[in-house]
Amino acid sequence: MSSGHVKRIAYQTIVTKEVLRFARIWVQTILPPAITTTLYFIIFGKLIGERIGMMEGYRYIEFIVPGLILMSVIQNSYANVVSSFFSTKLQHYIEELLIAPVPNWIVLAGYVTGGMARGLIVGTVVTGISLFFTDLTINSYSLTLLVFVLTSILFSLAGFINAVYAKSFDDIAIVPTFVLTPLTYLGGVFYSIQLLPEFWQQVSLANPVLYMINTFRYGLLGVSDIDVRIALVIIVAFIVVLTWYSLRLLSRGVGIKE
């Protein structure tokens, strides 16, 4: 058996295991984001949104749909990897991987793919739900899909790093609550940063989530607060850095090897 073949099967095994894990507990993993975003659509889109009027030339519900879809991708990719890899560590079955001839980058790729799978499935479900409330126009299929995928990769990696450092369940809740949620809400899911005073517009530009949401919105609606090319470069740069950092953590055995 060639070593490339061994690696491919090891990768497939991790991915299968990861997908089965969240699929089995779909009531905890797929259903809640579907319910939450349905509520967002009803309350912000329908009830309040109809009184808000137009935002960047679109009805309010049309404006928030891209952000809500991407928010679900962000949260679920992150949540999947952070909770799965943390329990792998906590219950010590990371040892099943450490003992086997599986290189670190395969381990990382396997967990990230699992996170992407959950992010993309939830994102698709949310997109499906949004169709009950508004029509979806797609300006650029390729850009939409690209941002969808890159975002899920990026936040799967972030979830992985969080899990490597986490020592308790509190540690895996802190980052989503105190970092991820504020960044997403302030990243322009619900408003255009044009509405902000000049100073806060500048501050918002330091928020990486802003670039993703705007690029995604551009993919769907064709409007964006920022230059889409710069946004893509920033997203890819983040992915490169986080991948490098994750591999470094794995090779140093941080949190998993004495």
Binding site: S3, A10, T13, E95, E96, L97, L98, A100, P101, E258
Partner: protein, 310 residues
């Protein structure tokens, strides 16, 4: 060829504790090898390093001639480990634990299911294949780890206290099983605190204490070093004081129970003759201690006094 060669292995944990102070070991291909030592001696630390679960501080490890640093994947694919602590996903069904482990070794899913079935049947767990691991009994969990360790057919199987907390019937079945796979060519390294287990199964032995090897030899050679043996005799009639026998040290421990220490050069026949002359009939006799246990205690006591004097 050697199944395992360890040279000058050192391990200092992050907190500064030196768990291994330079151990060297050589386990021959096909051997059934006992790695013994008191709690905290460093057995599991050494095993974790061999299995790539812990990083070593210094030294070399090679498996069937493959260096664990330079030919990592080849070396890894020949090892199977049954660790001391449970380390599987408690929420996963038994069969999936095995199928996944096989997958990590590059065995495709269909073949992995066949391997899993084979392994689970051997360990008498096939009926439990759909059960989540957390619902297995303690002994079944141990057997699950053995089944998992075998799923990629390793040439070197390392078992860290596999029979801890396992009932006598299953323990015997496990012994039988270990003997069988050893006779089919798998090299086995076993740690255990049941010394009669090591005595009856293993051909070679190393004793480790405070991170150092204090003895490495063959089991028969070690046992032949035993100078004295202690026996417990059950006698026919009650006595009020221990019988006086020249050359033997006897002690009365119950009114019909006597303990006797026999030197290696003394024969049992003359002991019985002397007792018969005093009108004492021996109804039954047993070793006070397992023979290996007796040696073990001496060796460990010796290493402790050396440790203190140095």
């Amino acid at each position: 060829m050697s199944a395992l060669v360890i040279e000058n292995l050192h391990k200092t944990y992050r907190n500064g504790f030196e768990a291994l102070k330079g151990i060297s070991l050589n386990v021959a291909e096909g051997d059934f090898f006992a790695l013994l030592g008191p709690n905290g001696a460093g057995k599991s630390t050494a095993i974790s390093i061999i299995a790539s679960l812990t990083n070593k501080t210094a030294g070399q490890v090679s498996i069937y001639g493959k260096d664990l640093d330079r030919q990592k994947n080849e070396a890894k694919s020949m090892i199977g480990l049954v660790p001391q602590e449970f380390n599987f996903n408690m929420w996963e069904p038994v069969v999936e634990i095995l199928v996944n482990q096989a997958g990590y070794y590059g065995i495709p899913r269909n073949a992995a299911f066949q391997r899993a079935e084979e392994s689970l049947r051997q360990l008498d767990l096939w009926d439990k294949r759909h059960t989540q691991a957390r619902w297995l009994s303690g002994g079944m969990k141990r057997r699950l780890m053995i089944a998992r360790a075998l799923v990629h057919r390793p040439k070197l199987l390392i078992l860290d206290e596999p029979t801890a907390g396992v009932d006598i019937e299953i323990r015997r079945a496990m012994w039988q099983f270990m003997k069988q796979i050893n006779s089919q060519g798998t090299t086995i390294i076993l740690t255990t605190h049941y010394l009669e287990e090591a005595e009856s199964l293993c051909r070679n032995i190393a004793i480790i204490d405070h991170g150092r090897i204090v003895e490495q030899t063959s089991m028969s050679h070690l046992l032949s070093q035993l100078n004295t043996e202690h026996f417990v005799l059950d006698i026919s009639k009650p006595l009020t004081m221990a019988p006086e026998l020249p050359g033997y040290n006897l002690q009365l421990v119950g009114d019909k129970t006597v303990e006797v220490t026999v030197q290696r050069e003394q024969s049992m026949n003359s002991l019985f003759e002397s007792l018969t002359q005093q009108g004492i009939a021996v109804m039954s006799m047993r070793n006070k201690q397992n023979r290996l246990e007796q040696l073990f205690i001496d060796l460990v006591a010796q290493s402790k006094s050396e440790e203190q004097s140095s």
